[in-house]
Amino acid sequence: MTTLQKIKDFDKVFNFGSYDGSVSLEEYRMTGGYEALRKVLQDPQAATEEICAAGLRGRGGAAFPAGTKLKMMQTNVETERYLVCNADEGEPGTFKDRFIMNHIPFQLLEGLTIAAILAGSSNAYIYIRHEYPAAQAMIRQSIAEAQAAGLLGENILGSGVSVNLKIFSGAGSYLCGEETAMLSSIEGKKGRPRVKPPFPIESGLWGKPTLINNVETLANIPVIIAKGADWYKGLGTKDSPGTKLISLSGDVRNRGLYEVPFGTTFREIIENYGGGMKEVYTLKAVNIGGASGVVVPPEELDCPMEYGVCAARGITIGSGAVYVMDERRSILDNVQNRVNFFLHESCGKCTPCREGLRQAIRIIERVLAGQATLKDLSNLERYTKCMQEASFCGLGQAAGNSLLSSLKYFRKEYEESCVDSAQNIRERGDMC
């Protein structure tokens, strides 16, 4: 029973341990799984209050309070409602939702079922990206098992309440992770974002109220209900209760997925969880929050991972991707890679994003070719700010994060390549 002991470690929200298979329904129930669902069916009101009191915030990137969203659904008079679980996980550098789906599928399914019951949505979808066939297969099989056990589907545990869950496969569009684009995608259309407001909780799938939550958000719910808001709040900080799954990659010794209590500093994440730098090279920069996140120098790493503090310092926790770069890495190459990614994923619906990205890549290519001027850099900064402020959806709004942060912290690297930088003029011996 060694594997069971590992997953019994209850000091965390997620009990993957070093367990590398998947936790079966039987194992999950033996360790307290599905007790929360029972509680919810007995007293849904108390369960909603518990989620609100726990201060759980969305883990998909925007960090919106999950309890508030749930309550907004409950006050809607429309009876046809939907729940959509966002399992699109498109943010480069992120692999937490894949781990949850592959290893602890029933914790997700229990959370999803609870959220659907509390939101009054008898129809639910889980939108899983096409790049995750193993996760799709695991969830498909787990849905069947949960249904057979009376934990999902019609008349859950004899309560008369039903939740019908269907899998919807994405088809390789990062933008479909944006909630309104996802709704369009499920409706069979191109995955283009819609105007907000109305927000999905008011008018979502097929125009009906729709609660959209990320995989990690939903997987937190059974544990919050089973162990209570006070226990949960004891795990993180006052500002950000609970824990965050961190996808750690790059030049650290131990890349991998870690459950980290809020309040831990980014330096601690790299040192204590990642085991420090992999080779003899020194730390140069860390990208926090994936492609749509920021690139920061080592001096910023003593910042605690906490929504309030990070927002004030311009750090985007986002999906919890932490990518570590040592001194051999080029900031410009990295930023170029990101801008290319957004250029490919932009839907082209609005000009600031479509054109802003095109101009950004032209300037970066000029910088990399050693042909840019300092004026190009100030233009790049100006265009990027405009793209952030004027873009229609979150893609364009966040696409500039890595550009602007790299220009702020690593400007020297850009300037070194400019033909008219003071240093280059001096080296060429030009006369001013």
Binding site: E131, P133, F168, S247, L248
Partner: protein, 159 residues
């Protein structure tokens, strides 16, 4: 893995002809095609069976990176092109694969056995660099291991 070759009408009957089934139908039609794509004939048939315009089918099909309107190889090799994999040595793997297959990224081999494509993060950056061959994901790929995977598939195809 041999393709099952389900017909378009069987797929539509199975998945339903409501509008919301369109993306699932396109993916299933592509999966059933030995050339891994949605042909013009298939687009016409889907539109007729679902009672929607062909342009609606094209509009959805062309939006998604994982749906191809051009014939591709029997096996799709997808190389992750995002920053963590790029830094971990994607370029050398790309070079090795291009040499082994005799094609560039985005092309299909002459024997129609392989297409080589770039793909966004496969969610295994803890094992960068990564690639995906059909439904199978490979992490910590080296130029040699990438070539080995290709050769194994080629051998299996001969039998």
């Amino acid at each position: 893995m041999e393709k099952m070759g389900k017909s378009v009408s069987e797929i539509v009957a199975e998945l339903g002809s409501e509008k919301g089934s369109l993306l699932a139908i396109l993916l299933a039609v592509q999966d059933a095609s030995p050339e891994n794509y949605v042909s013009e004939a298939a687009v016409n048939e889907i539109a007729a069976l679902m009672n929607i315009s062909r342009s609606m089918v094209y509009s959805t099909a062309s939006f998604y990176s994982e749906i191809s309107l051009q014939a591709r190889g029997r096996h799709i090799v997808r190389l992750c092109i995002n920053a963590p994999c790029e830094d971990a040595g994607k370029a050398e793997i790309q070079k090795a694969l291009e040499k082994e297959l005799g094609i560039k990224l985005g092309e299909t081999s002459a024997d129609k056995l392989f297409s080589l494509e770039g793909v966004s993060c496969l969610g295994v950056c803890n094992m960068s660099p990564a690639m995906k061959v059909d439904d199978k994901v490979f992490g910590d790929v080296t130029p040699a291991s990438a070539v080995r995977v290709i050769r194994e598939i080629r051998e299996a195809a001969k039998q």
